[in-house]
Amino acid sequence: MRITCPLCGERDRREFYYVGDAVALRRPSPDAGEAAWDDYIHNRDNPAGDTQDLWQHEAGCGAWVVVDRNTVTHAVNNVTLAAKVTR
């Protein structure tokens, strides 16, 4: 598996650390209520298909990246800098 870091270019997967669902970029507001916070902290989809994860280019530039990939085909469709995601 290869991931194209927006800064460094195409790199081997071993340079990256898998963090988890990109839900971490969509933190609810403090007063969003119990249901929203329960969902944010505990509930994750387990899709057969397109998914969006956070990875870190830990053995490279150190950037956090959002990886759009497909769990069925293993295709990596898009990679963006987490710093560029508007929250």
Binding site: G9, G60, C61, A83
Partner: protein, 179 residues
């Protein structure tokens, strides 16, 4: 106070010549990492340029002036090697002198040595002089910069100096054995 004797990170380990290649230490008198705060990159780069003649490097590039080499070392960060920078407002500035082992691998076969250890294609023409990469050498996090057609500069954390020299020497022996 006891007079302490300063040792460079690779003291007693280098230089080594194997085959047509040489591995030597290149200890900079000063190394300083700089990371401009949000919105300050342009101002910091201008300050560097007026002092050293070169500004903040773009990703995957290293800039050389007659006084310093400034190498991109990651997202929003660069290492000034050679001289300490002037007082910089608008950036996180950290003295990293003595914290890094810096070596130069030179000679015919240097690319083949790195090809055995590094998961990035460092051959020319895609990796030319003053191109740089943050990547792995074995299991070590390193910064690799091409100095010229047959020379690479490799920086690793000082605590890894012995492993760095071991890994490179082993690969140099293996490449040299192939003739």
């Amino acid at each position: 106070m006891v007079k302490l004797i300063e040792k460079t990170p690779c003291a007693g380990l280098l230089p080594r010549s194997i085959g047509l290649m040489t591995l030597a230490e290149d200890a900079y008198p000063a190394m300083t990492s700089i990371a401009p705060y949000q919105g300050q990159s342009r101002q910091v780069s201008a300050a560097l340029k007026s002092t050293f003649g070169v500004g903040f490097p773009s990703p995957n590039r290293s800039l050389l002036s007659d006084r310093v080499r400034i190498t991109w070392i990651g997202q929003g960060a660069a290492m000034i090697c050679g001289e300490a920078p002037p007082t910089l407002t608008g950036a996180a500035v950290t003295d990293q002198s003595d914290a890094w082992a810096v070596v130069r691998l030179t000679g015919k076969g240097a690319e083949d040595v790195l090809a055995r250890l590094v998961p990035v294609d460092l051959r020319r023409p895609q990796f030319r002089s003053n191109h740089t990469a943050r990547t792995l050498l074995g299991h070590m996090h390193v910064s690799i910069t091409r100095i010229d057609a047959k020379t690479f500069e490799i920086m690793a954390m000082r605590s890894m100096a012995q492993t760095l020299v071991h890994e490179l020497s082993q690969a140099m022996e293996n490449v040299a054995a192939r003739g």
